[in-house]
């Protein structure tokens, strides 16, 4: 797979292909597997994503600690806000739904990780539903997202323990922004700008989960990460460009991750996890987890 988005964009433009098609062909060559087989695997991933979105909307899921759950249903059925009835509110609900399923040990697709697993399904299935986009195109968009994620894995990191939340929900926002921009008709160059616009907004984001659990703030970071992706998509499709290329924004993310103090890398030693309330809640809930039969 590619380790530079600029190189992939150049090849896609030269071959007059979308980045998604280029990603499928490259994967097919790298792994010596037919494209149809890779599309099948992505189709199965899409089915799991959709099931998680649906299961998460019921509102009766609870995480091991009980810190999160039921909020996706509030966006779906709760009092209206200024964005009710728009894809924006629907995408937020979907992101919360997938993460609530994840926190309750349900089945999700780690894309790129479990902690950031809500953003890509929320943005892609939410916008595909709003615009009536067929599954074939959503599957190609998943390949686009995979290519973007592979570039981030090669140049920076996809692990909160290594690079903070910018490497998990940040990377997921970049993947979702680029993939959806292409799915909605954007050119490879516009995909690059969408990735840069999303990723720049999450630079420096720390990983500070209460008690080290993938719950708080992770669930909400998936919703706000989706909001960032939507903003990037809207801007990129309007023709807005970001002067710093995506590869360089990703490099900076990696550099910040390497410099980030260990307290801010999934250890629950800093950030929200180390606030007085964060510490108290983590203490109380860990006792509850140990008592629960599983």
């Amino acid at each position: 797979m590619y380790s530079s988005l600029a190189a992939a964009i150049k090849d896609a433009e030269a071959q007059k292909k979308s980045l998604g098609v280029l990603a499928l062909e490259t994967e097919s060559r790298d792994q010596a597997r037919p494209v149809a087989e890779i599309r099948d695997a992505l189709n199965r991933a899409l089915a799991v994503m959709r099931r998680a979105v649906n299961d998460g909307m019921t509102g009766d899921l609870h995480s091991a600690s009980g810190l999160v759950g039921g909020d996706a249903a509030k966006l779906r059925h709760g009092p209206p806000g200024p964005l009710s009835g728009t894809p924006f509110r629907d995408v937020l609900a979907r992101a919360l739904a997938v993460q609530e399923v994840n926190a309750a040990m349900g089945v999700i697709v780690a894309a790129p990780t479990a902690g950031g697993a809500g953003i890509l399904p929320a943005v892609l299935t939410g916008l595909a539903t709003a615009r009536g986009i067929p599954d074939e195109q959503v599957i190609t968009a998943l390949a686009t997202a995979g290519l973007i994620g592979a570039v981030v894995a090669e140049r920076a990191s996809l692990s909160g323990a290594e690079g903070g939340c910018q490497a998990e929900t940040g990377a997921a926002a970049g993947m979702a922004a680029g993939a959806a921009t292409e799915m909605l008709g954007g050119s490879p160059a516009q995909v690059g700008h969408a990735v840069a616009l999303a990723q720049q907004a999450t630079l420096g984001l720390i990983c500070d989960p209460l008690g080290g659990l993938v719950e708080l703030p992770c669930v909400f970071r998936n919703a706000t990460g989706s909001a960032i992706a939507l903003a990037a998509i809207e801007m990129a499709l309007a023709g807005i460009t970001f002067a710093i290329p995506a590869d360089e924004v990703i490099d900076v993310m990696g550099e910040i991750g390497r410099e980030m103090d260990v307290r801010y890398r999934e250890t629950a030693g800093g950030g929200l996890a180390a606030t007085p309330t964060g510490r108290r809640l983590a203490r109380e809930r860990m006792v509850q987890i140990k008592r629960s039969p599983g």
Partner: protein, 222 residues
């Protein structure tokens, strides 16, 4: 090489790709070392696995992997109850295995019948795993290929014999690594192959007089 399906995947039971899916894969690999579900296991959790493992179901996921359940198997949630009902003896401990080891690591001492092995492995994030040690020998196994591990007396021409057996089965060698603790001591061989080797490969390798034991580690990731 990063695969697209590593990024869009794995399909897994939550909540953490490193603490749940990766932990399950480490259990799956340790299980392969004894050729089936081990009856008795000592599970020593290190670093973040020890500190936040319970909340992530790391204990359940490792037990599930040891019993052959894959990361997307919903039985992970009740794995500890299944261990109990099956009469398996899995003991969990929290420990420190050394400063240089990855924060998400575990040492598994697995026993099944006459077989007993010790494996140290780490979960690197996004569900990717890495075995660093088997029975005290330093190894590098990622579980993204079919892998053959074997312990043999240090005799000349051993690699050529094994390579010939694999060639006969039409198995292409991707990587081969040989380590030993001292000159003339036993040699530990890790061979990653492109195709799944047939049952006859293990039987043929076992027949070699100088091979002490061999097992096939399944491919556990994309």
């Amino acid at each position: 090489m990063v695969s697209l399906l590593d990024i869009i995947g794995p399909v897994m039971v939550g909540p953490s790709s490193s603490h749940t899916a990766g932990a399950c894969r480490l259990g799956l690999l340790a299980r392969c070392l004894v050729g089936g579900t081990p009856e008795k296991v000592r599970i020593e959790l290190h670093g973040s696995f020890a500190r936040t493992g319970e909340g992530h179901g790391t204990d359940k996921a490792i037990a599930a992997g040891l019993m052959g359940f894959r990361p997307d198997d919903e039985r992970i949630r009740t794995a500890l109850e299944i261990v109990e009902s099956e009469g398996l003896q899995y003991r969990f401990e929290k420990t420190t295995l050394g400063e240089e080891l990855h924060p998400n690591s575990v040492r598994l001492t697995v026993e099944r019948g006459a077989h007993s092995h010790v494996m140290v492995g780490s979960s690197l994030g996004a569900g990717r795993v890495f075995i660093t040690e088997i029975d005290g020998y330093p190894v590098e196994v990622h579980g993204n290929c079919h892998t053959i591990v074997l312990l043999a007396e240090d005799v000349k021409g051993s690699i050529a014999r094994i390579a010939a057996i694999l060639a006969e089965d039409d198995c292409n060698i991707a990587t081969l690594r040989l380590t030993r603790k001292e000159r003339g001591g036993d040699a530990f061989m890790v061979i990653e192959v492109d195709e799944q080797p047939g049952e006859n490969v293990r039987d043929d390798i076992k027949k070699l007089a100088w091979v002490r034991w061999t097992h096939r580690l399944d491919k556990v990731s994309a």
